[in-house]
Symmetry: C2
Subunit: 407 residues, 2 copies
Amino acid sequence: MATMLDRGQIRRIDGGITAPKGYRAAGIHCGIKAEARDLALIVSDTLASAAGMFTTNLVKAAPVLLSQEKIQSGAAQAIVVNSGNANACTGAQGWADAQEMARLTAQALGVAEEFVLVASTGVIGIPLPMASLRAGIARLPEALSRDGAAAAEAILTTDAFPKTSAVCLDLGGATVVIGGMAKGAGMIHPTMATTLAVLTTDAAVPAPLLRAALRQAVDQSFNVISVDGDTSTNDTVFLLANGRAGGAPLTEDDEAFARFTEALTVVAADLARMVVRDGEGATKLVTVAVRGARTPSDARRVMSAVMTSPLVKTAIYGGEPNWGRILAAAGRSGAALVPDLVEIAIAGIPVVRGGLGVPEALARAAEAMAQSEYEIVIDLHLGSGAATGWTCDLNEGYVKINAGYMT
Amino acid sequence: MATMLDRGQIRRIDGGITAPKGYRAAGIHCGIKAEARDLALIVSDTLASAAGMFTTNLVKAAPVLLSQEKIQSGAAQAIVVNSGNANACTGAQGWADAQEMARLTAQALGVAEEFVLVASTGVIGIPLPMASLRAGIARLPEALSRDGAAAAEAILTTDAFPKTSAVCLDLGGATVVIGGMAKGAGMIHPTMATTLAVLTTDAAVPAPLLRAALRQAVDQSFNVISVDGDTSTNDTVFLLANGRAGGAPLTEDDEAFARFTEALTVVAADLARMVVRDGEGATKLVTVAVRGARTPSDARRVMSAVMTSPLVKTAIYGGEPNWGRILAAAGRSGAALVPDLVEIAIAGIPVVRGGLGVPEALARAAEAMAQSEYEIVIDLHLGSGAATGWTCDLNEGYVKINAGYMT
């Protein structure tokens, strides 16, 4: 069990995608957005193992379809990402544009086109402004550096702040580093690999193991967060491993593989929590922990229903310990549930016992809900199924951002 | 097919639950709320056939459990409803309180307790203030009249206006009337019999047929609306038929039964649309019509995903023809979908053809979205599955109402 390992050996460090050895990045303004950086590049000095996870939405953006195809080789060297335009629902033109982005980036870098992945994020249904992108991509190589900050900025859309995380650990006889960056902040839902994120490592990990590690890490991070219950057309998480730390390659059934996956999960969960904290308009980061469900999937059903309930999310905003809404969301989740057995605690304060409210606890719970981060624990007392995720409040800020997105 | 009948024969008339012969109603203030009416009574002069539909939430309020049990007899004479308190998650005390409400009402009216149904709506988890209710129920009989307006007011919670509808039609040799009232305005979702509604008729309809008619009518009304995707612990729709119009009782496989069901659906759909129009904070009533789905249930999946998407609902608020969000919601709905085949029209203006946007239509679509009511039509071009429902916008008003509900 990864969670049985000594967490002390995984140390958080500064930086993001360029914290591991052998990666450079760039982030520039090419003209898709009015002013902010809108074009990012991540390059490994050498060909890297590569894994990816993509949206489950049947409406997939052209770069998603293209990168899904390319990453089957298990190898990649560069990732080009634009923000401000999703290149989704753009038909044959969008497909050609995504391919051209990869081709131009390959030419500019002098690497094979097949090893360049592409991602886009932003408004749906408008063709990419290719003139701006062509000029921008030509300028990317000279902007490359060992500093990943500009790239982390260039992938943002409605985000209020860039999201990066990095850890190091001793692995296979070397000190390896895992870094990452992500963007939020709407269309976030735990259906699959929500948001757009890039993870990098200098560990040596063969592609099949890299895929398995990514699946596990995403399952405990990007797949257990919700901002608004909408799943994007562009959700993508990429993971590159270039082996530049110099350690021995990981093998299956290796204790080192479990530790690598744990460290990767730490970075992915850091980024996922930042995505929720920066949810459109969000003022609260709330952990929703479900215990005692009949099955693990029942636990996830309850978690997801509570995390996405507009009534729970507005109560979180208002700081009201309205446990009836939490219980009602659990009751409609599809999970087995016996109301009389349910216990709910908000910020450590039991507000429901045996399915009944604890009236004398409400004032203290309301006080605790003034904190910017706290936990809601729901125990169904039916089994050992458990799930933990993160959600945010729903408030006027979300409405303002999304009612005036196009204009 | 009910829809093949001459709709001209179903005529809308004034009034609500007391529009049919042989019903009286009362609505008073008993002290659950600070000032507004909070206790309603509906009585049939004679014992009536009765049918009910209830929430599918596993967390059911005591009055729901009690009325579910009682209505199995297929007969009822009175319905007592309080607002301001849901009597949900109130344990053994809540169960005893719901029974006492029925018993006291029966005594006050001089009817058998088994024929008195109970419903409650309002805040969850707080015991009913029984002293207020006891005094209030004792005052109900003297408040009874042939005017249903006070009762329609007394069942409201956060609603901005009362919701009533009535129609008449010639049936079984008599002119029969169907009336109804409903309350909104949050925790509204098309899972089952959402909201709280009472329907009455003076037609003569045996209980099994009454149940069948109610199921069909609810399926095309209260089950195809969404305000916020949350399903209440207290959803209830009651239907009474007392035969006082003097017509022949309806029989199965009767053309008259189809016409009765059609007329019932008109009333139920009127009320359902009013619930959406009065959705918490709502400023728009939008019909979501899905066509060309592979199956009817696929059509409902797309309808429900679009109707509940916070991104679609905020775009409706902002008056932005952001069809990408509609397409993205359809794509994650679980329904079969080929993006290239999809057509979307907003307020009659095609904005997506063959999965691609129609840029020149956007300005006109934005203009049309300024109307307070319009239609979004989504054609998947995969089959003949169709579904139609009603939704509203999501705005700051919803947040304000629900962030400060308890205080």
